[in-house]
Symmetry: C2
Subunit: 483 residues, 2 copies
């Protein structure tokens, strides 16, 4: 059994040896996703998709509770529409997949496969929005989008990916700004309370802003290799698109005014973030709140006990399912318990329940936590209560562990020499003063490959000197190398 | 108020006057969908999408309960993959939208925007399926697909549409056949028990078969204008794709064998079927099981009573929501009750609850059914129970009414003259003997535009003469003009 287990696990490159290979090994072997024959496009496998469905359902509920409605807009965007907002087309055109023929016919105008849907959605909003009574218009869509990428990585950067994109229209600048911040807070809660990924909410610099936005907000997470990952963004679009597409409404004062807009999105990239935040050398660890399977039951048969143990496992599965847990009894007889342990550890199921002849005699079950491997013996009649409690603990502990990691890997630096040293040898987040000048930001990027991830919303005003130019600076911002 | 109501309603073309215009008026004015700037592509508006979500959730649950898992495969299919199965490419190539460039680069090989995903999914299955232990493989995906259509109609035929497509792999021919029939039965229940649309489950003739299938099963519905609509299909693919893509497995006898497959789908077209089955001259009627809103509360304020009536409406909304109903209180003060009645009738909300000063005095509410306009006065303390009962009645009555319509419009004919007369003057389904020869089927189509919708699964073996050639025939099949 030990050798079997070893063989299984050693198929994963150790995290410390090669983080990139570890990541791909985990995603592939846990059957989250597979490469497809189309360059840069992945297949999201059933286990990975179940995880995505859970993330989607959590967010969808929060969006509906805050008055947002789902809709569906076309996949295709005429080239002329994409060109209406100048910054927007400049930002996205290099990444567009173009449809040029339908059946045997050449198209008169090329159609972009949506890289994001502002251009097509705003053209509809121009038709729908007439009066202040139509506002706010709060629409979201769950969709696939395509961005032609040169270098791709499973979940993190793929040519096609799944996401939600919200597109809202408001009567005032203030409301649009409030919406962008309200959604950012929803994203923060999704990341922290469900995915157990601590994030820094903040503002993007001008250079990192969404093409066409007035302001971009972001939640930034730190991965286990010390690189940052942008986990979600919301954009205050001002009146840029309203003016480009003619979205105007008659206000209460009977004047015709251009509307104010936002857009925002998170994507299947979150799955990559989850893997890189919680995984270990045995594979994936999925926070219980979004886990496709909360616990797996592995029967431990001994000679002569097979039938008794299997039927007990089935009985426990039924009990736990009825109590509302997502549970799976692994009753396969062609695999040993050790092999099963490894497989479900690899797949990151938060907890394992073992039951063998001795346990049946003692009226107990054995729970084993995936995150810290703790083994807990509990009487069967306390099982439901304890499973619920331990799942909550795992959720809390995963977040605490990730937060601790981030804190240990966030470095406040005061000199550029120290900055360069940290980026080179330690990685992680760097908190440092920045004067607000794009030129400094650019130079830091050229010289260190670190970018400003965000100006944190919580940052107090301070007096300091820019890490690069030494001029006066008012805030410490977060720098990091990023995905 | 009367004039307002009239003006609102007369915007819909009467069903009897022009069915096609009535259909478009209802879809547009109920805000189910809108035309987009891209030819043949529609926008599914929030109300229409909420309906789609309900349909999707019902079916998704049934598919998961029967062991199917969701996944996601790429939007793009390399041209060479589409060509691997000869019949398949012949069937779909004329309808394919082709991506020929990514960013500034011309692609070496054109990519089809998926018209259906057999080709890409089978290429992955060839990689995943190795042993009998991997079977059955039961995967479904919810996705957008594109078919370049010359003539389009909202929901019924659009260039892009939403659907689910199931793709399964089995070890034996028998299992594949059973799967195709099992899913057909799930589709029948979706149509009849939820959408209240009676359907005829049957087999497609060779001429109407899915490109690449051995057998295609269908559920066929009859619309209110006497035309048939194919509401869902399942395909037994035999080993066609397994051989084209090399999907082989080591069986229990250790021999390498080609697998057996099925595929199946229903689409957003079901929404069109729902509109055409239940709607009337006042607009849409949505069966309660899938209605985004079960009942709308319209307060009837009288001078001095506004505040009391509005707060009562809110109170009732809360009570009904807590009881699990999808309820909306229409508290807008800028519209009259009559205007609201018309609007919610147009949107097909199954039931309206009115509450005014008199009702408050009498501790009662007034329920009005959308389908038959029946007005029911009930004591407030019986409200929850009665709402539940009446919604069930509406669901049942809608199905019964549609079934009665279908029965009245199904004609058993024995001669070709009668056949032609019925098709020309009455429409509806025709039950008639057919010898099984494609030549007869083709001639009937040329001469009458009617096609064989299906050979019903329930049809008994009989002795008869083919309606067209007079030769021996064993079964009555369903003919109709179709969407």
């Amino acid at each position: 059994m030990a050798t079997e287990k070893e063989r299984f696990v050693t198929e994963i490159t150790p995290k410390s040896e090669d983080f990139s290979r570890w990541y791909v090994d985990v995603v592939r072997k846990a059957e989250l996703a597979d490469y497809s024959p189309i360059k840069g496009c992945m297949v999201i496998q059933p286990y990975g998709f179940a995880l995505w469905e859970n993330i989607r359902d959590v967010l969808d509920k929060k969006l509906k509770e805050t008055g947002h409605m789902n809709a569906y807009f076309p996949l295709f965007i005429p080239e002329s529409f994409l060109k209406k907002e100048a910054e927007h087309v400049a930002g996205f055109a290099p990444q567009v997949a173009w449809v040029t023929a339908g059946g045997d016919e050449e198209l008169e105008e090329r159609l972009a496969v949506r890289p994001t849907s502002e251009a097509i959605i705003c053209s509809m909003y121009a038709k729908w929005v007439k009066s202040w009574r139509d506002l706010p218009l709060l629409i979201n869509q769950w969709a696939n989008v395509v961005r032609w990428e040169k270098v791709t990585r499973l979940f993190l950067r793929t040519t096609e990916f799944l996401w939600q994109e919200g597109h809202t229209v408001h009567a005032t600048e203030k409301e649009a700004e409030e919406e962008a911040l309200k959604i950012l807070e929803i994203y923060r809660r999704l990341a922290e309370d469900y995915l157990a990924i601590p994030v820094i909410p903040g503002v993007k610099t001008e250079g990192e802003r969404f093409a066409g936005a007035v302001q971009t907000y972001t939640i930034e997470a730190l991965m286990a290799d010390g690189k940052a990952l942008q986990a979600g963004t919301t954009h205050n679009l001002g009146q840029h698109f309203a003016k480009a597409f003619g979205i105007r409404f008659e206000d209460k004062d009977q004047k015709l005014k251009y509307a104010w807009q936002t857009s925002w999105g998170v994507s299947s990239r979150l799955i990559g973030a989850l893997v890189m935040t919680h995984g270990d050398d045995s594979g994936l660890i999925i926070p219980p709140m979004v886990a496709p399977i909360h616990l797996v039951i592995v029967p431990i048969p001994a000679s002569g006990w097979e039938e008794r143990v299997l039927s007990k496992a089935e009985e426990l599965e039924k009990t736990l399912k009825e109590a509302g847990f997502r549970v799976k009894a692994d009753l396969r007889t062609t695999y040993s318990p050790g092999w099963k342990f490894s497989e479900w550890e690899l797949k990151g199921v938060p907890m394992r329940l073992e039951v063998g002849p001795k346990d049946i005699e003692k009226n107990q079950v054995v729970l084993v936590r995936r995150d810290n491997r703790e083994k807990i013996f509990i009487p069967q009649n306390e099982m439901i209560e304890k499973v619920g409690i331990i799942l909550k603990e795992i959720q809390k502990d995963l977040f605490a562990r990730a937060l601790k990691f981030r804190e240990e890997n966030t470095h406040q630096v005061e000199s550029y020499d120290e900055f360069k040293e940290v980026i080179k040898n330690k990685g992680g987040f760097i908190r440092a003063f920045w004067c607000g000048d794009s030129a400094c930001e650019e130079k830091v990027k050229e010289e260190t490959t670190a970018t400003i991830r965000c100006i944190p919303l919580s940052a107090p005003e301070e007096d300091g000197k820019c890490i690069r130019c030494g001029k006066q600076a008012r805030k410490r911002v977060y720098f990091a190398k990023a995905y």
